[in-house]
């Protein structure tokens, strides 16, 4: 059911764009107005969200320590997993963001007869996530060739590397396959792994189907419809320069593609997709394990009602004296 909500949501959006362009001639709406609005929502939304996170302080120093602390000089501390310097934190965060290191250490548990509880390494989720995210990044960078003139050299380099195997014409990029493959894997495990299905929300499926829709329409446009790339580039450059020009005779799927991307952008700040920024602000990962060496200051550290020694002694003085314990007041 939850899968269907997500799926139907994306299908409905596709139909909306298709009909809007094909039957109602709303090219300007779907090609210009919506993308600008979406970009606006994306930029403002992401900034607002990050500022909202940043506005809340980090009152306590709570890194999750996954390695040996720095203590005695002759014990080797774990620079990455229990960093005691800013640079160590930077390395830990870098590996987390670029390589999904925590996920790489994932394990799978099983209770066998006996009972015997076993935990073995499993890297499938890590691999799927890595393939999807990195391919997504490369696909995004490849799209820069539409938005910049002249095309930056690194974009050309990535693109030619990506098409290394020269399969088909126009050649199939590895990252295109990786992107779609990664997404399909993530979708499949969400549907088939019972626990993951149980925790999944319609919104989780929606994000996946939205990305799958974007990838699929992109593939169709490049490999089957073989859209005129020059006019697409003219359109993209126009958008960037704020003098939008609609592509001539563009297939309606082009507008569907653009519309889904717009929806993704507009949906982004309000969704779990914000994890891309949130991970940098996670206090269990971005703090050094040095809380006994350097005092962490809590900006709202409020006074509390304590039970003072004087109050304590007042209650127990007689018994303390009786037991021969020293007291302040006799």
């Amino acid at each position: 059911m939850k899968v269907w909500y997500g799926f139907m949501g994306v299908v409905a959006l596709m139909i909306l764009a298709g009909v809007g362009v094909q039957a109602l001639g709303l090219q300007t709406l779907f090609g210009v107005v919506v993308p600008y609005a979406a970009m606006g929502i994306f930029l403002v939304g992401v900034v607002v969200k990050i500022l909202s996170w940043a506005r809340s302080p980090v009152p306590f120093h709570i890194p999750t320590t996954c390695g040996q602390q720095r203590s005695l000089s002759w014990i080797r501390s774990s620079y990455l997993d229990s960093p005691h310097t800013k640079f160590g934190v930077l390395c830990r965060m870098g590996l987390e963001v670029l390589c999904f290191r925590s996920l790489f250490g994932n394990t799978k548990m099983a209770v066998r007869p006996g009972p015997k509880v076993v935990h073995g390494p499993t890297q499938w989720l890590w691999a799927g996530a890595m393939v999807f995210h990195w391919c997504m990044l490369v696909v995004l960078l490849r799209h820069l060739r539409f938005f910049a003139e002249p095309v930056p050299a690194f974009v050309g380099a990535i693109t030619s590397l990506d098409g290394f195997f020269q399969l088909g014409l126009p050649e199939l990029y590895l990252t295109t396959a990786g992107l779609l493959g990664g997404l399909l894997y993530l979708l499949a495990r969400r549907i088939w792994v019972p626990q993951v299905r149980y925790i999944s929300l319609p919104a989780d499926y929606f994000s996946l189907f939205l990305l799958i829709g974007i990838a699929t329409t992109g593939i169709l446009l490049r490999h089957f419809i073989k859209i005129d790339l020059e006019s697409v580039k003219g359109f993209a450059l126009g958008l960037v320069a704020f003098v939008p020009v609609l592509p001539v005779q563009a297939h309606y799927l082009f507008y569907v593609h653009v519309f889904l991307v717009s929806i993704l952008l507009a949906y982004f700040p309000f969704s779990k997709l914000m994890h891309f920024a949130g991970v940098f602000l996670s206090p269990t990962r971005n703090l050094a394990n040095d809380s006994r060496a350097r005092r962490h200051v809590n900006p709202w550290n409020a006074p509390v009602k304590t039970h003072t020694y004087a109050e304590y002694e007042d209650e127990f003085r007689e018994r303390m004296v009786g037991a021969g314990l020293p007291v302040e007041k006799t």
Binding site: S56, V111, A129, H275, R285, R292
Partner: protein, 543 residues
């Protein structure tokens, strides 16, 4: 002959029934599945007198099995305001509410899920219990899209569910090791418990120690003269077993070091032997130290209550250090105590500028890593002593022990003290075996009774939650003949005894300093034949 057992007794639970665990979730969606309260899976509510003593809201007599929980009339407003306040005060809370992608990496990392199979014990779903309310009341998408965006209305049933599952989390942080964003369920559970506390939904196993600690200085409610008696009783035992009479400095002004340990070490077997171990060590070193009756608790059940309560209880330690004029503070073997000391104390009650950077009077080592809090872990202190050859040790005295080491959750994942205890253990005993690698160090499993859940009415969940740990102990028991589980945590020493009895019978639990003291060759000792438990040092069968 069949004895009848009650659900708060271990023997009530038959192992073959308990291990029939179905990890497949039910067919009903989680938002429509209600928890079933029964003896064994929840903890009795806090007694009104304990809430009153602490000035906590809504003290009353109630039971989770009642239909009416006697919540204040404006409970919904209290909760929503409580969430708002905490979102503004804790970035962790705000970020963790927003960024989970429900990848499920944490799902099979929780000991309660592994041993119980209840899907709401998957960390992700535990957090969703709170996140769903956050979404529907605090986010744009949730307000517009409702359940499609994962929101749900705040009802009394939601509150009941929170009470059930946020007191089935031991705040062990194992899930946060695996989360790609470091989402820490302990942090979420702490927020949820604070919210529940606002409505007067507390558990007595936590609130009684809190109230005790506030008044008498320790969780157990031991009064000053009682503590003196206890330590003297230990000294008598030590004298019987070693021939050495240790001194017991208490509330001593002008001591160099204030020693603070969890009060569990004063009362329960086997924690008391660890306490005797400290006393032997300090005496042998001739350390100018003192116990305190006012700060007679290192542990802090405030950690399981609210941030404000942590601070209220923890304040005693620095206050007492200042009053007594010591140079620095030494802390005993405890788990959550060290989370508070390492990650909260300095921030909450510091700066401790009236103390000096800790320096071992025996070796001269400066503990620079504790230069701000001025508090050192006793295992760091002892490891340094051993490294400098300051202890005369005869590890063969522990030869009857085949030891494995349980990394306690908080020292592991909120401090990172892994090598010091291993170094000490290897120096005081000859037979040491590690448990499987996915069950130790930062991946260590909770005893199942942490964060104030270690009470007998929680027996079923404790046994279930203890399965991963107990099973790993059982593994090394079979493989290497392990018969002793070392742990530097007072809660562990109490709860793992039950876990071992159930999942790895005949393995007994020990603190590290019990083994240290047994191995120490003391000045003026008589021929050592008994260990600190009064048991023969060498087993009868040994040749």
């Amino acid at each position: 002959m069949a004895e009848t057992f009650k659900p708060d007794q271990m023997a009530f639970y038959k192992q073959d029934e308990l291990v029939r665990i179905d990890h497949k979730p039910p067919t009903t969606a989680w938002m429509r599945t209600k928890p079933k309260f029964k003896i064994g899976n929840f903890i009795y509510p806090a007694k009104p007198k304990n809430l009153e003593y602490m000035g906590f809201p809504n003290p009353r007599v109630w039971s989770p099995t009642d239909e009416d929980w006697k919540l204040p009339a404006n409970w919904k407003e209290i909760i929503l305001n409580g969430i708002r306040e905490r979102l503004d005060k804790y970035r962790s809370f705000k970020v963790f509410m927003d960024i989970c992608v429900r990848c499920g990496a944490c799902a099979d990392k929780c000991h309660f899920f592994i041993g119980g199979g209840d899907p709401k014990n998957m960390p992700v779903l535990r957090a969703e219990l709170l996140r769903s309310i956050y979404r529907s009341d605090f986010t744009t998408a949730g307000r517009i899209l409702g359940s499609l965006a994962g929101g749900r209305p705040l009802t009394v049933d939601v509150i009941k569910e929170w009470f059930f599952y946020f007191y089935q989390c031991t705040e062990c942080r194992r899930c946060s090791v695996f989360c790609p964003y470091g989402i820490d369920t302990a942090e979420i559970t702490m927020m949820a418990r604070e919210l529940l506390n606002l409505l007067g939904l507390n558990v007595n196993w936590i609130m009684e120690p809190v109230a005790n600690c506030f008044r008498t200085g320790n969780h157990l409610g031991i009064q000053p003269h009682g503590l003196k008696d206890t330590l003297e009783f230990f000294a008598d035992d030590i004298e019987t077993y070693t021939g050495v009479r240790v001194d017991i400095p208490m509330n001593k002004k002008g001591a160099d070091i204030l020693f603070v340990t969890p009060s569990g070490d004063f009362l329960a077997d086997p924690g008391i032997y660890t306490c005797m171990g400290y006393m032997v060590l300090f005496h042998e070193l001739g350390l100018n130290y003192t116990w305190s009756t006012y700060a007679s608790e290192g542990g802090n059940f405030g950690l399981f209550t609210s941030h404000e309560t942590i601070k209220r209880l923890n304040a005693k330690i620095y206050a007492e250090a200042k009053r007594l004029g010591v140079k620095w503070i030494l802390g005993g073997e405890c788990g959550h105590m060290w989370r508070v000391l390492h990650q909260y104390m300095d921030t909450m009650n510091g700066p401790a500028d009236f103390l000096q950077v800790p320096r071992s009077p025996i070796t001269g080592t400066e503990f620079a890593h504790a230069r701000s809090t001025k508090m050192v872990h006793i295992v760091e202190f002892t490891a340094d002593l051993i490294k400098h050859g300051k202890l005369k040790l005869d590890p063969s005295r522990n030869d009857k022990l085949k030891v494995t080491f349980h990394d306690s959750c908080n020292p592991a994942r909120a401090m990172g003290i892994f090598e010091e205890p291993r170094y000490v253990i290897r120096n005081v005993c000859n037979n040491f075996y590690e448990m499987p690698e996915n069950t130790i160090r930062e991946q260590t499993f909770c005893c199942g009774g942490g964060s104030g859940l270690g009470t007998d009415e929680m027996m079923e969940m404790r046994l279930r939650g203890g399965l991963p740990r107990g099973n790993a102990v059982h593994h090394v028991q079979q493989k290497h003949g392990v018969n002793r589980l070392a742990a530097m945590c007072a809660i562990d020493r109490a709860t793992l005894s039950t876990v071992c009895e159930y999942w790895a019978p005949e393995v007994r639990v020990t603190g590290i300093h019990e083994m240290v003291a047994n191995a120490m060759v003391l000045k003026g000792e008589t021929k050592r034949e008994l260990d600190l438990r009064g048991e023969p040092l060498h087993s009868q069968e040994a040749e």
